[in-house]
């Protein structure tokens, strides 16, 4: 935390006066008003008179959706019931606001960003930064730090990766200048400028030189091992020593940091390449050779978080997670040469997000208030169908699924040993059941969702993991065992199991089907064990609709 405040003030001092003058003096734009504007623009830009929009979803669907989306967990039967009985006209907005104030919100989304950054790691040892990243980002998100402040933290981080999770991008990219540059651009601007790393693209405006000018903000950053008798870690270091001689294009190959960046000479790799000045491709703002690292990264953080693409990248990503489809697809490939669905809608939402002071909670409140978000789900549309006419069922991320299992089965996370295969590859040395589970069920959140398919090993883990099966059995300590011994009436047990697993009551047919099954099996406990097993293994359980 100490480092944070120093860095914050450093950024403060570097911020030009004009930024303060331009800063909005008014409060954040009204979330529901912006939501209505976005819906209206979608209507103008995307839908036509014949578009069949899905109706707004019912309260049961909404409560499960918004719980999974914001806090990454299932509502308990009590939460569902209370929400359904609430008669307040603004109860949906109120639920969203309440969830954003719960500590699980920050944790859920910190884990999401951990996956965004660490699925692209180039060395597995980068998982050292996993937990520190979640801890730090959880706190920032929960206390309402602006997205610009959070991004600046990542861009300017230094120090022990086990102490400061903001070092995650450098650690994940192993301190390699070009790789870290590409990730900063992808994650925070949604611009894949690294495609220009090796050659100019005929179809893209960014030139090879512009990529290397961006890389020139980062050459002095390195990642070094940090070893004491009691501790092994890595640290993000800064090397501000002057350049005594032309060192050529070693480009920080030893990860110690080098004074300047050189654009490699592709025809003549033995040549030193071209010494390249830091210059920001979106605005043309530049720094001179010899600028110290703190200024390079500090200024870049400032310039980058001030561009419209910074706001748009976040808006697009969050919209895609919540509504099921981004304005730009893939969600991290934006830029002036890409054609978004509904350009005015995404622009309006991005402007308003910037005006809110990059308030991430504001963005959630606004998107969750749109009709686009609140519609019923439909299967993912084909390319020829109208976009955003419905929400889309989303497969739960590893952490969400883990939480859902714990909540549905009434298990405390402290008692989760054996939930996942201990030998599974994944986060070595940090093999908590959650992390192992996430390694088995997680996916890179930046890839297009329809290309993420569930796998046979995942299905087998849900069906046959001993610990899950034990939790499904009706022993004295289990949720089901307690339920069966305290509730005699079978139809109430059925209702409770549906509420616990799917956050809704069974339909009449479903209830009758369940009761008929119990009857056919003859043994009450065995039949309900089967039923609970089947509910947990259903497609509905592993999706949010």
């Amino acid at each position: 935390m100490r480092c944070d405040s120093t860095r914050f003030f450093a950024a403060f001092l570097l911020t030009p006066l004009t930024a303060f003058l331009a800063a909005p003096a008014v409060a954040a734009p009204n979330a529901s008003r912006v939501a209505a504007q976005v819906d209206r623009l979608l209507g103008e830009e995307v839908y036509s008179g014949s578009t069949q929009l899905a109706p707004v979803c019912d309260d049961e669907t909404f409560v499960r959706r918004v719980w999974l989306d914001i806090v990454g967990d299932l509502p308990t039967p009590e939460h569902v019931t209370a929400f359904l009985l609430d008669t307040h006209p603004e109860k949906r907005a109120r639920l969203v606001s309440d969830l954003l104030e719960s500590a699980q919100y920050g944790q859920n989304w910190a884990r999401y960003w951990r996956d965004v950054i660490l699925y692209r790691r180039i060395e597995d040892r980068a998982v050292l930064v996993s937990n520190p990243l979640v801890v730090k980002l959880t706190e920032q998100l929960n206390t309402g730090a602006g997205w610009d402040e959070i991004a600046s933290g990542f861009i300017t981080a230094t120090g022990d990766v086990r102490e400061d999770g903001a070092t995650a991008i450098f650690m994940a990219q192993d301190g390699q200048t070009e790789e870290a540059t590409a990730e900063v651009s992808r994650v925070f601007l949604g611009i894949q400028i690294q495609c220009a790393q090796c050659h100019d693209h005929p179809w893209d405006r960014w030139q090879r030189e512009q990529f290397h000018e961006l890389a020139a903000f980062f050459p002095r950053v390195g990642v070094r091992p940090l070893q004491t008798p009691t501790r092994r870690s890595y640290q993000v270091v800064v090397n501000d020593r002057p350049e005594f001689r032309n060192r050529g294009n070693s480009n920080n190959a030893n990860r110690r940091g080098s004074p300047e960046h050189y654009m490699p000479n592709l025809d003549n790799p033995d040549k030193p390449g071209k010494k390249t000045r830091p210059r920001f491709f979106l605005t043309g703002a530049e720094l001179s050779f010899g600028t110290p690292d703190a200024d390079r990264r500090g200024r870049l953080a400032e310039w980058l978080t001030d561009t419209p693409w910074f706001a748009t990248a976040m808006v697009n990503r969050m919209w895609s997670e919540l509504v099921g489809e981004g304005f730009y697809e893939p969600i991290d490939d934006l830029g002036p040469d890409r054609e978004p669905t509904a350009p005015q809608a995404v622009e309006r939402l991005s402007e308003a997000f910037a005006d809110s002071g990059y308030d991430v909670k504001w963005l959630f409140r606004t998107i969750c208030a749109t009709e686009a978000y609140q519609r019923e789900s439909r299967p993912r549309r084909g390319p020829e169908e109208t976009p955003m006419t419905a929400n889309v069922p989303q497969r739960l991320r590893g952490d969400q699924l883990f939480n859902a299992l714990l909540t549905a089965l009434g298990i405390d996370e402290a008692a989760t040993r054996g939930f996942a295969d201990r030998n599974a590859s994944g986060y070595r040395g940090q093999a908590t059941p959650r992390l192992i589970f996430n390694a088995a069920f997680g996916y890179d959140p930046s890839v297009q969702r329809e290309t993420v398919s569930a796998s046979i090993p995942q299905a087998l883990a849900m069906m046959n993991t001993p610990r899950i099966n034990y939790a499904v059995s009706s022993n004295r300590r289990s949720m089901l065992g307690r339920l069966l011994s305290s509730v005699r009436e079978d139809s109430l047990v059925v209702d409770e199991l549906y509420l616990r697993c799917l956050s809704r009551e069974p339909t009449g047919d479903e209830r009758a089907h369940a009761l008929a099954y119990v009857e056919s099996v003859g043994k009450r406990n065995e039949a309900f064990e089967d039923y609970l097993w089947a509910l947990l293994n259903s497609a509905e359980f592993v999706h949010r609709k």
Binding site: S377, P457, P466, D509, E526, E540
Partner: protein, 430 residues
């Protein structure tokens, strides 16, 4: 009449149609009275053979250096310190880092003239896995999924397509062919799939599966139709597999120690051995990944380490397939997303180079002991018989008895050929 029947059969992939083939041949013979008993037997056996065709893709993730593998350039500055060694085939030399592969050269064909324009990992890896570049809106199936779809045995309890190890970029999945043809991905060959033992007796397990199947209608009706359908198939495939006695195929520890030691040690060796076990048990496509080929620095040392990992297993795989009579029907393909720059950079590394790179093939009708194509003395450009990724894809499908012009229908009803351009490299088979 007969010709027509054969065409119908070779041009359509589904197992159902292939199963009907024998009956159709019988009917054709009865109707036309044209076929002798011997004709029918020989037709039947060639048909059976095709059914058992398989492919093992040895994927070198990161882009393997051609100079340190199949195109050494000793005596030129670009060649680095890699030497050329003779192989079992007079006149063919490969890098000294692959001494075991050199011994099975008689079964291997090298293409030294692969050429493409894709020099970034994600795009090139996609291209070399799909035969297409990524295109918005079309979910192309990856090679293994297409092959599994075309000639996989849908009645087998084992999956038709297994992918072993590695976090390769953009290796793809079944795309518009659907989850039926997705790969079973194993993190490591030394550990069989986990959680394969039901926690209840088989009868009760089946009862549970039946229950699960019967209660998914509500979600399917409320917006989840597609995910429910996919989920059903997945549960079905998973359960079939684990209830099958053939699960033991996944356990390489069942191999005699002499066989295990022939393959050597390491993840890639285990992967090659598992691939042979799977192919022997009827799996159609196995992809085994070896990582670490993106040698921007210390190319010499790192390719040596990588070659140490792959040399012995790859040679053992070819020998083993051959001694079991499987090589005639199993295509082994060695490749990565691109090659590496002729010039060694300031960090002792080689960078991405798609203009001239190598692929090696063996088995399934490929005539071994030959080199196709040539680069100039500097290894910078192809000067003889350029082969594009599309040409290679046509060759792979052809070797497997699959019509490269076969058209699938994408999700939006657009016809998509397995390969849309190029022509097969005929010399491979001549």
């Amino acid at each position: 009449m007969l010709q027509h029947q054969i065409n119908v059969t070779t041009h359509r992939g589904s197992v159902f149609q292939r199963r009907d083939f024998l009956r159709n041949v019988g009917a054709a013979a009865a109707a036309g009275g044209l076929l002798s008993w011997t004709d029918r037997i020989s037709l039947a056996s060639s048909e059976l053979k095709r059914r058992h065709k398989a492919c093992i893709l040895l994927w070198m993730a990161g882009g393997p250096s051609q100079f340190e593998t199949f195109s050494p350039k000793p005596g030129h500055a670009n060649g680095g310190d890699t030497k050329a060694i003779s192989t079992s085939v007079p006149g063919i030399q490969i890098a000294d880092r692959l001494p075991e592969v050199a011994k099975v050269m008689g079964d291997v064909a090298i293409i030294r003239s692969m050429t493409s324009k894709e020099g970034s990992h994600p795009r090139a890896s996609y291209y070399m896995h799909h035969g297409y570049l990524p295109m918005g809106g079309v979910k192309f199936p990856t090679l293994g999924s297409n092959v599994a779809h075309q000639i996989g045995d849908a009645s087998s309890e084992l999956p038709s397509f297994v992918r072993v190890g590695g976090r390769g970029q953009n290796a793809g999945n079944a795309g518009f062919l659907g989850v039926d043809h997705d790969p079973l991905v194993l993190q490591s060959a030394s550990r069989p799939p986990q959680n394969t033992r039901p926690m209840t007796g088989a009868d009760r397990y089946r009862r549970r599966l039946g229950l699960l199947d019967s209660m998914q209608g509500e979600f399917a009706r409320s917006g989840g139709a597609d995910v429910v359908a996919d989920h059903r198939k997945l549960v079905e495939a998973s359960s079939e597999m684990i209830l099958s006695p053939r699960m033991e195929t996944f356990d390489i520890k069942r191999e005699p120690s002499s066989v295990r030691s022939a393959y050597g040690e390491g993840g890639f060796a285990d992967g090659c051995l598992l691939a042979r076990r799977l192919v022997e048990a009827g799996v159609t496509f196995v992809e085994v990944t070896s990582g670490g080929w993106d040698t921007h620095q210390d190319n010499g040392e790192r390719t040596q380490a990588n070659c140490d990992q792959i040399d012995r297993p790859m040679a053992a795989l070819i020998r083993d397939l051959k001694s079991r009579g499987l090589l005639d029907d199993t295509l082994v393909v060695w490749m990565g997303e691109f090659g590496r720059t002729p010039k060694i950079n300031g960090r002792g590394g080689r960078d991405h180079y798609p203009r001239a790179f190598n692929v090696a093939l063996a088995g399934c009708g490929v005539r071994g002991g030959q080199v196709i194509g040539k680069t100039d003395a500097a290894g910078a450009k192809v000067i003889e018989r350029p082969v594009s990724p599309k040409d290679l894809y046509r060759s792979i499908y052809t070797a497997l008895g699959i019509d490269p012009d076969h058209e699938n229908t994408s999700l939006i009803g657009r016809p998509i050929k397995l390969v849309d351009e190029g022509s097969a490299v005929d010399e491979l088979f001549g």
